[in-house]
């Protein structure tokens, strides 16, 4: 029963990823006074791309085809760590947060490889930018997660979530507050949202993610787009699980699961609306200001880790 539930959670996380992107796009369109495309448009787009021909540049090596697959697989594996309905998840008790972080990093590494393999100069440019952003996000992401792990005495995602779910909001310490702010900042950078990267831009001078996937087409592009949607979904779900898990089912029973599902939907929708509002109200940072932004996240996560030592 719990096993089936874990698989179901995993499938929900993977399956609703395009829907989340669709909702964010829809809310952004509404804020900009447009009607916007249907929230199901990302599914249609993926379907279209999967049926198309995969064009490979003549300069590319076999790695070019392999990279999107590895990225997608690594992101799927990372998604298996994140609890959605109850505190356990498919791999939540086996691996820990460090593995989760480096699974994401592995996917990123191969995306960068693929972008450089494509042979276009834009791909190389996007790859070098992505490499810079990801090196800078790694420290605050890891430190923020470690601060939470220290406070809850366990590095597995399941034990952290269980610990937080047993407590009330006011019982969380300042370490949690700092880690939360740092991880929100990192999530925005990591998933390529507006102050760092604009997911809907096609202006060559500023794009990061879009520049990397310029040479990809067909099923490969579909895998990359799906993987980045899953990554956004899993990062948001992870934030919810780590810092506001209340409502999550602590025992496997039907009413508890229904409540958990409603709470999760509500929290994710709120986050999606907040993200869309942020993207509509903030201008993208200049590339040279990105280290500044991530430096702040880093300072906050260092504070979070050190504050765990002062916990009463």
């Amino acid at each position: 029963m719990t096993r089936a539930l874990d698989v179901l959670q995993f499938l929900v996380l993977v399956g609703t990823a395009p829907l989340l992107s669709g909702i964010i796009g829809q809310v952004k369109a509404r804020i900009q006074n447009r009607r916007g495309a249907s929230v199901l448009r990302p599914y249609a787009e993926l379907w279209k791309l999967f049926r198309k021909e995969d064009l490979i540049p003549p300069t590319a090596s076999p790695l070019f085809r392999l990279c999107p697959v590895i990225l997608w697989a690594a992101t799927l594996a990372a998604a298996a760590f994140v609890p959605v309905l109850d505190t356990s998840s498919l791999l939540g008790n086996r691996g820990d947060i460090i593995l989760l972080v480096y699974l994401l990093a592995l996917g990123r590494f191969f995306l960068v490889q693929g972008a450089m393999d494509g042979g276009s100069s834009f791909g190389g440019m996007g790859a070098s930018r992505e490499a810079m952003v990801s090196t800078l996000t790694e420290a605050p992401l890891l430190l923020g997660l470690i601060a939470v792990a220290i406070v809850s005495h366990g590095t597995s995602v399941a034990s952290i979530v269980q610990w937080t779910a047993d407590r009330r909001l006011f019982e969380l310490s300042s370490a949690h507050a700092f880690a939360c702010v740092a991880l929100v900042m990192v999530t925005i950078a990591e998933t390529g949202r507006v102050p760092i990267d604009n997911p809907s831009t096609h202006l060559e001078l500023t794009m990061i993610h879009e520049a990397m996937v310029l040479e990809y087409s067909g099923p490969s592009l579909a895998l990359i787009e799906w993987a980045s949607a899953i990554k956004l979904n899993l990062m948001l779900a992870l934030l919810v699980a780590l810092f506001a898990p209340w409502g999550i089912a602590t025992s496997v029973s039907l009413p508890a699961l229904v409540i958990a599902a409603c709470a999760f939907l509500l929290k994710m929708t709120l986050l999606a609306v907040a993200l869309a509002a942020l993207e509509s109200s903030v201008a993208k940072l200049r590339m040279y200001l990105v280290p500044e932004y991530l430096g702040m996240a880093c300072a906050l996560s260092v504070l979070a880790v050190v504050f765990t030592a002062f916990k009463r």
């Binding site: 507050a177 702010v181 430096g295 702040m296 300072a299 002062f310 009463r312």
Partner: protein
Amino acid sequence: MGLVEFAAAKTLASSAVFLFITVLLIAAAKRTATCIALFAVQCAVITAQIVAMAFLHRSAEAFAVAAMVLLVKVIAIPYALLRILRRLKVSPAVTASTTPGQSVFIVAALMLLAFAVVQPYARAFALDSEMLAAATAIVLTGGFLMVSRKRALMQVIGLLVLENGIFLAALTTTFGMPFVIEMGIFFDLLVCVLLMGVFVFRIRETFEHVDVSRLRRLRG
């Protein structure tokens, strides 16, 4: 335990975190107006804290102090500062000698310093170490803002932040100063801001800028 008492206790327990975050945001802010708004937010957190204390200790004086903080620090001073800022007609940017990232790092270091310094004292007198550390960190940050910010108005804000820290330290260690002294301090503060406002105007009229780092020569 009633709901109000519960809320009051929780407000007391968690206000230090909010104070830490406002301090970091002030260090990271890029516009003077944002700094003023954040100062008002910081004072609002302090107001909430005094109200919570007043509830728990059932003291009418503390309610009066809370009302005065609300009137003077949350409403009057930020309003006056925003007015001065508008009428000065200088660029909205905070010109600092450190970048926002560096400022956040320095303020983070100051917070840790405050925490480390406060521990033995808090243990000896059985005080809330987090609140006391927050007060000390705010004092240090106020000093840092005054040193690193170049515009005269930001130095006023730095001074106000510093004063907030001292007020908070008094509140945590001795449950506030006597009411008459408290009132005197608020009045002083208001007059102080007005005087400094006039002074900033004079600097601007004489030198046509408010950049303190360029005030190196005497001029008649």
